[in-house]
Symmetry: C2
DNA sequence: CCAAAAGTAGACCGACTTGTCTACACGCAA
DNA sequence: TTGCGTGTAGACAAGTCGGTCTACTTTTGG
């Protein structure tokens, strides 16, 4: 494997599991079996390595989520697939994402409070990308075609619930099973869908 | 002021604004104008100081939230007051809580991934206390009297939304204005209230 | 085939970390 | 007065941090 990629993968795993400040360069070197000079040949500093890890994680997570939502055609299906996927991740059944330890971007942002720091900017960008993904998915449904305002609002709500679910699972070690309840989910989604289309959504899903 | 309290207040502000690992003992000493021996006379280690800060923050936050919810008599009022209060906090208008920098407990938990670490346990305990506070409040309403199962579920949902709202505000620098919308909020709350009581809730709030 | 590039191993630097310890000052109570 | 508790000021220990550098080896491409 590419040395650079190997270093990123090793560093990402360590950073995600233990936190950025808790993992030193030397630990990454030992774990990856790479010389210090090699690392600093690929990355000018630890910060740059962190940024590369964030980009790699962003790519991996978005790909995973996009894949999980690819067969969803209604808002309800999207919401259901979203929370189902999160639950799978939390239960350590999403091997692509590694052992669950909360959201890497929320965790990392907590360690870099300055909002104009490159690392904080990448964390923010990831969240915006996920929100955009949800919005795009919802916009493609027949229920939300040319109702982008409503799609935007539901995407925002799903996003907030997603973040909350991940944080709760990380801190309290208990996920919100409620969001797996089809009845509640249907009611949540329903409130955003224009009246004439609600039945259509019901019959399909 | 009590030396010990003074140290805790100084440390708490620094830890909350910059993150735990980013703040050294010496910085706290300089800021508080206290000698190193004095600090180590009150706290055996940095970890113990961190724990004292978490306890102080837990007390302060719970008191603040409890105060903000004290005049709420219906589930809708509780939800409305909750998200309104969070919005005030995020907009830096809750002086008791200091400059908003996300949830101190989520941030801190991100820096201490081992779930059996005393610090992580305190973070988890805080979240459980807040959830309990919401549950108690909801249980006291006429709509949820002796419907503790439903109250539990709504408390759980509100908690998830709260965590999500705080995380989004922290990472994306944009709060979810949606949760301030009375219409949406009413629909959210409504789905948990047993049918015969819904109108009662509506007429009161 | 040979030079350039990219790798390894690890000593080393200065700055920083938590935590200990000495030396000294002040206030209070017996 | 004496002695104790609590405070200050800061040197110091022992270790870690990110990052640089030397010396040497391996890989690779023209």
């Amino acid at each position: 494997m590419d040395k650079r990629t190997h270093i990123i993968n090793t560093a990402l795993t360590a950073f995600y599991q233990k936190g950025i400040h808790a993992v030193g360069i030397n630990e990454i070197l030992k774990e990856s079996g790479v010389a210090k000079k090699t690392l600093y040949n690929h990355f000018v500093s630890k910060d740059e390595l962190i940024c590369a890890c964030l980009e790699a994680r962003d790519k991996r997570f978005n790909h995973w989520l996009n894949d999980r939502l690819k067969n969803c055609d209604t808002p309800f299906e999207i919401a259901s697939a979203l929370f189902g996927s999160l639950s799978i991740w939390i239960d350590n059944k999403a091997i692509e994402l590694g052992d669950f330890n909360g959201c890497f971007f929320i965790n990392t942002a907590a360690e870099f409070p300055h909002s104009d720091h490159p690392i904080a900017i990448l964390c923010s960008a990831h969240k915006k990308a996920v929100l955009q993904l949800l919005f795009d998915k919802l916009s493609q449904t027949t229920q939300f075609k040319s109702k982008s305002e409503k799609a935007k609002q539901l995407a925002q709500l799903l996003m907030t619930l997603k973040e909350g679910m991940i944080c709760q699972a990380r801190v309290m070690h208990s996920s919100n099973q409620l969001l797996q309840d089809p009845l509640l989910l249907r009611q949540l989604v329903q409130s955003y869908i224009p009246k004439p289309l609600q039945d259509a959504d019901f019959s399909v899903s």
